[in-house]
Subunit: 282 residues, 2 copies
């Protein structure tokens, strides 16, 4: 196991290879690695105050010329949608582990298409609107409390910086949460009969129970706490009493407990509910 | 000192307040904080192979419709310039500590301008083309060696991901290096007579010596090593022998020793060489 893991160390998961993409050890490595990415990006974000105005088109309307979207957008939505438009041109949303927040703005890539093997079953599960909503209303206010200097109130000078960090956070969260599809597919292939029965019975609670491992979840939360503390502390001043840390550690753990883990399970359940369509079991 | 530092902990430096922006303790805090940002972003980048094709428009030409730029760009330049164009619309380059790599693509912001007080002396120092060149030719090949899986060669699937990480790295490096202007201005105000004499004599070597503190530089490199090791290791597996780390620690130290510190001094010297223009000392 250790050797096997070593072999996968610090490489992005290879979604062009079905056996590698559905190997639970590979998926687990990728999920653990994404914890670092998410923690890094959130630490960067909370350098700045919440800056609530960037999420509210009434407070700070951004004129938008993309006809696929409303005429006024929030600054955060404007930047996220324009970034997605740009990234679509270089094939980002051709990758089977990338899900757009604004599918209506995507363009045809200007590079030759890549052929990814079909690993996941056909499905339309995309929980990005829930992710964005919870990020703005739950994750950020908690993470910015006492950090990001809410006492300084809004900092207009950091509106763009905050929105830029948000894009990185949201894209990483989305990737992490939608990776649940690979977890679900892998579990389905291992215990096909059990899942076919649950899916046919439309037993979402039963599916949720079948994919839940409370002990693993507890370990994830403990690991997140350790990562938030480690990455959130400057190691050169860690022991001299002056370092208050770069991030609210509880907020990082809470983000996983209340948003990432539950939404990953929603993705797994909803993916599995579509898993039999067009198959022999339907 | 400790209390004073605590007061500044984890807030972005306030460039709308001249006394705060030229306070060496504030500048120092910001420079140290940017080390974390740079290290985080480089750790994210080396998940992917070097992917040299994205820097070479002959290998991978991207058709570009922006008349201010050549008709074919490298993928990395295309994404960087388009990102800068987008960020300019939300005022990024109005901020006095932000320097574009592609000034020719910037647009007029669509938000009301912010008034920043004039803290720095008028100057046109911008070393971004050197930063980009050294990043591609020196920093990345070193950082991706043994990491980012050069043995896997190119991964076309990660071209866009690598270029996206590059933007974050380059923007952070540029901000860190051009912060030298605030360091230089602060030093100039403290020892005005000394610097006026050196500048009038066009004694760049003398200025370089006057702004160099070898002991501080050594401390910076030691701190970088500690940060690269700490942030580059998953703390949950740090002691079980399976973790090879997420980044080449020597490459991070070398990046500072051979690029960041020397280029910051170039910025300081060139800024000071323009410091007397239009003043009483000219």
């Amino acid at each position: 196991m250790a050797l096997e893991l070593l072999d996968h160390m610090d490489t992005a998961i290879d979604l062009s290879d079905p056996s590698s993409a559905l190997d639970l050890a590979n998926i687990r490595f990728q999920l653990i690695r994404l914890e670092d990415t998410i923690t890094f990006h959130l630490i960067e974000r909370v350098q700045f105050p919440l800056n609530a105005a960037i999420y509210d088109p009434d407070l700070l309307p951004i004129p938008n010329s993309n006809l696929a979207l409303p005429p006024n957008l929030s600054l955060a939505d404007y930047m996220l949608s324009e970034t997605e438009r740009l990234h679509s041109l270089v094939r980002r949303y051709d990758a089977p582990d990338e899900y757009p927040f604004f599918p209506q703005v995507l363009q045809r890539p200007m590079m030759a298409p890549l052929r990814y093997p079909k690993i996941l079953h056909e499905n339309n599960v995309n929980v990005n609107s829930i992710i964005k909503d919870k990020y703005i209303k739950e994750i950020l206010p908690e993470a910015c409390r006492d950090f990001g200097r809410t006492d300084r109130g809004e900092t207009k000078e950091n509106y763009g910086s905050a929105a830029t960090c948000d894009i990185a956070c949201l894209q990483a969260l989305s990737r992490r949460i939608h990776f649940g599809k690979y977890v679900a597919e892998s579990k389905f292939r291992k215990e096909t009969d059990r899942f076919v029965a649950l899916i046919k019975a439309e037993d979402r609670t039963g599916i949720d129970a079948a994919i839940t491992d409370a002990k693993v979840e507890q370990k994830v939360l403990e690991r997140l706490r350790l990562k938030a503390k480690t990455y959130g502390t400057d190691p050169s001043t860690a022991n001299d009493g002056t370092d208050t840390g770069k991030i609210n550690i509880d907020a990082v753990v809470k983000m996983y407990a209340q948003v990432v883990i539950p939404l990953t399970k929603v993705v797994e359940v909803e993916y599995l509910m579509q898993r039999l369509k067009g198959t022999e079991w339907e």
